[in-house]
Amino acid sequence: MISAEQNDFITRVGPGTPAGALLRRYWQPIALVEELEEKRPVRAVRLMGQDFVLFRDEKGELGLLDRDCPHRGADLAFGRLEDGGLRCPFHGWLFDVKGTCLETPAEPAGSKLCTRIKQSAYPVVEKSGIIFAYIGEGEPPAFPAFDCFVAPDTHVFAFKGLFECNWLQALEVGIDPAHASYLHRFFQDESTEASYGKQFRGASNDSDMPITKVLREFDRPDIAVESADYGLRLTSLRKLSEESTHVRVTNVVFPQAFVIPMSSEMTISQWHVPVDDTHCYWYAIFTSFTGPVNKQQMRDQRLELYELPDYTSRKNKRNNYGYNIDEQLNETYTGMGNDINVHDQWAIESQGPIQDRTREHLGTTDKGIIAYRRLLVSAIEATQAGQPAPMLINADQAAAFSGPPSIDGVSPSDRTATYCKDADRKRREQSSWAAARLTD
């Protein structure tokens, strides 16, 4: 439980807010690369309550500009892509990807107005299918050499989806290892063969036990939280018998991402990115350690739930998330279908547009959430004091990162302490691209 003031302090991220100042010190996902693959590569995007226009010029270069035309404020997202930039349809002012004004065609010949006009422009880069933007001051930090950024393009797939709630409660579901035994419970186990591309449907590593069964029958995980150079590492143990214990290791990457196992072959690196204070996108990179990702299948699976162009969920509070009484009685814990993304979406959206944390009561399974909020508050305060915050790294520091290891598997009960390291090592040795980075 926290005060209303403290809740605002950690959730609100508009321009000028303390938490907003912190998040603006980091690269933030702003669109999927696939969103600019259409006939006209121009998108309106909103990040932390600020509006921008993202576009690719005729040479293929990416630009991110403030969305309102500096002339009289018309919407540049309707601009014409021509003559080396984006042209405002109102009076034809033309801007390049750096925000430089190239033409003000209605002004008298010889006018110098253009030379004094500059639209704010922000750095953007493409990484593993996501376009990241930096809208903060000064130099952006380097990208850590995590698996999701170093795997070849064939082995990564990116997607996103909208949640109609504050970003922080969305992140806090990802660092809550206990909920999977309840929220994502299936009363019957599917064949694990049909589990490609889905979370919590395959078999745990080093076993043939479906994860659905582990989660359902062993529902009191023993959770440990450790701090790591990138944020937090959470280890959840579910003791299956005297001999074997299920181990699940997930990570929080400061400030807003987690890296978790999806299946034995893939991990999910997921950001929760504020659109404004009451909407956020999840952006995920699925990274395969075995063969290339079947991107078409992964995309088609997700498009069953998510609708273009804004990646909105077809199941939402306006249709009760597809809730069905009989299904809740007989098949799933929620009665909201088999897609666990819908379960998570319901859980966090039902907490309200911005969860009122003055009314919550945290338990021992919430220790990851508590540890994360401590990190967050101290980083916001450090930012206010003009001091460093975690993961504001330079290129040398970035190169030293890897992983972070995220594992779901069954370990001999007496070797759980080293299981993650061993299983991660084994997975890397067998992976064409990850093996190359092993040092010893």
Binding site: P70, S111, K112, L113, R116, I117
Partner: protein, 107 residues
């Protein structure tokens, strides 16, 4: 934050505190000081942010550039030796207490 005293057309004074780095024009507009129009938004092309800088402060300002000098030729109100375009005056700590006289007209 430096304080700027704007002497208005009616003789009254409005004092505003403005952050270092902001222009005198921005400080006026953001605080709704009347008499400074700034049509072009500070890109030195409209001359409607014309002001008279109090002599005590005038010497402390960096010289106007060519663009500003050219525009000062065409200000709407009387051109005086202390005329400047307020969008070209950036606030620095030494300008604390700056006194600015708003001209009779900008158009």
């Amino acid at each position: 934050m430096p304080t700027i005293h704007f002497v208005l057309k009616d003789g009254n004074t409005r004092s505003v505190d403005a952050p270092i780095g902001q222009s005198v024009m921005e400080a006026a507009i953001l605080n709704n000081v009347r008499g400074i129009d700034a049509e072009c938004g500070g890109c030195a092309s409209c001359a409607t942010c014309h002001v008279y800088v109090d002599p005590a402060y005038f010497e402390r300002l960096p010289e106007p550039d060519d663009m500003e000098r050219e525009l000062l030729e065409g200000v709407a109100a009387e051109r005086r030796p202390t005329s400047r375009l307020s969008c070209q005056i950036a606030l620095v700590a030494e300008l604390d207490g700056l006194v600015i006289h708003v001209p009779a007209t900008q158009a």
